[in-house]
Symmetry: C2
Subunit: 335 residues, 2 copies
């Protein structure tokens, strides 16, 4: 499992706008205690509201890793970026990146890191071999968000349920399976980059035995209805052996993300497909709630939509971004 | 997609018995035209019934690739094996192997191959990058065997249906997704070694557009009910977008292979789970027949069992090894 040393200094580089700094914003929103400050280059259009720091100020504040919290343009490290990264390496930072082009593939960065004895974390790439899943029942409880499509708010749902549980003093962990989640928490499995035979085993390792009252909130990936990635979703369900499922949905989508010929399923169809699949790994698994991304709807429209889903399906239906994850956590407490 | 030059000389090495030469036997059974002969070392206890040849006789008979048709002991190339492999390389053979330890990782073999300009095919490892699946409907027809468990006869079922179709003059291909299948046909995708995000795309590429009356018989992998490998099975179903499914079963198994706590499902439970999954990728998909591995049953017991399944499920149920794949092909002809 990838493990990144904390705390971080967040590198926003020359991000043109706030959207480009999505990863940094995620860290700021969900694990602000993981970051001592932000580092912005000249012309940076993003600001996640942390203290501005130079590299040496970051080190003095205790930062161990410079996390690239921003997307780069054209998949290359610009000379301006590289100058900063080399300086960071020389002053003892590890570097962590979720970019497609790898830090380790840049000869200058690789050589500098070796000289300085620091780590380059390319968190898109698994940094170790995973075992084959053994399917043994593990102690502790697990919750997984599954979507009618990709990118419908599964990570947000899991993070907000984890945060709500912690607020209530419950024992809870967010288990990251994708790059943003891994950078937010500093650890996890980049599941989409794991070799097929070891996917479910990687998820088992990510969500090990735990105390009976402890909940893992496993970050979802893909969708059982998205033919490009459904195998990853399946491994997540069978490796994660969840006790509880949250159905995630975006109600205005007209086709599956990236698949113009594929129409998204209804929440009912998702429920009916996912439950028997999940019960292969955990016969006691239940669908306990519904999380809807209502960003595209007005406030009243969203409330009406959620009330309609709730009436149809007999399960709490909320938009955790708008209304909090409290009712989803209530549903888990009842499991 | 891995492509191995044909014809082969089959290397049986010092196989202690016939079982150790399973791969060579598979080639002999299903694609005898792919092999000019067999090469046996002193003390070899296996014999697949092809002409005995030396390396130079094999070359004279046209062999281009020496295929390692036998499992090695302890995952190493013994000095005796290596001597033969080096001699084969020097005389111009490509080498193909499905062993866990890779030809390319042996410095002597790698150096010799480079000198001689021949290829070392480690067919357990993908030899190229695959695309992400696009989910577009492809022309031609596809059949996939899915199992209640792993190792219940999916490959055998697909190969025997392909052979029966060819006998009837129908247009048909076997599409290999595992090491034995790849060595038998000389091409395919080692699906369990593909990176998660690209599994379904690899299967799409393996089973491209074809003539409307052409059937691909896709080699199955894993099982939707086997939590270690179900993600691979899922990618095969969604990447393969089959028109027809054959359910495969071994009736005497008391637990899932390698998972002592997991009980195999009934054929009905497999049917009910796989069909809605397959219809995500191809709404017209149907379950058309049942293939039972009755090896553990006596002849009358097998016939009674098959008759019972057929009556229960209303689908042709056969053991293709005992009784041929004719009735399964009849069912495909009716699709």
């Amino acid at each position: 499992m990838t493990m990144i040393q904390k705390p971080y200094l967040l590198f926003l580089g020359d991000a043109p706008d706030q959207l480009a700094a999505k990863v940094a914003q995620g860290i700021r929103d969900w694990r602000p205690e993981n970051a001592v400050g932000q580092y912005r280059m000249e012309g940076c259009g993003a600001d996640v509201g942390l203290d501005e720091m130079s590299l040496s100020e970051g080190r003095k504040a205790g930062a161990k890793t410079l996390v690239i919290g921003v997307a780069n343009r054209g998949g290359v490290f610009s000379p301006a970026w590289k100058k900063v990264l080399l300086e960071a390496i020389a002053s003892g930072y590890d570097i962590a990146s979720g970019l497609h082009n790898l830090l380790r593939d840049d000869p200058d960065l690789a050589a500098a890191a070796q000289r300085a004895g620091v780590a380059l974390h390319d968190i898109r790439v698994p940094d170790r071999a995973y075992p084959i899943a053994n399917g043994r029942k593990r102690s502790g409880k697990r919750c997984l968000a599954v979507g009618t499509d990709c990118s419908v708010g599964k990570m947000y749902t899991a993070l907000s349920m984890d945060a709500e549980m912690k607020r209530r003093g419950m024992r809870s962990a967010f288990r990251a399976t994708g790059q943003t989640g891994i950078l937010i928490t500093g650890e996890g499995v980049p599941l989409d980059a794991v070799v097929a035979d070891f996917m479910a085993g990687a998820v088992e390792e990510l969500t090990p035995d735990n105390d009976p009252d402890h909940w893992d909130h496993i970050e979802g990936q893909g969708s059982l209805f998205h033919v490009s990635y459904s195998g990853v979703t399946m491994a997540l369900i069978h490796g994660g052996q969840p006790d509880a499922l949250i159905l995630c949905h975006e109600p205005t989508r007209t086709h599956m993300r990236g698949l113009p010929d594929h129409v998204p399923p209804s929440l009912e169809r998702l429920r009916d497909l996912v439950l028997p699949i999940a019960q292969v790994a955990n016969p006691a698994c239940k669908v306990v709630g519904i999380s809807v991304n209502t960003k595209a709807l007005g406030e009243q429209e969203a409330l009406d939509y959620l009330a309609g889903v709730e009436a149809r399906m007999g399960l709490p239906a909320v938009d955790p971004f708008r209304h909090g994850a409290g009712r989803l956590v209530d549903a888990l407490e009842a499991v």
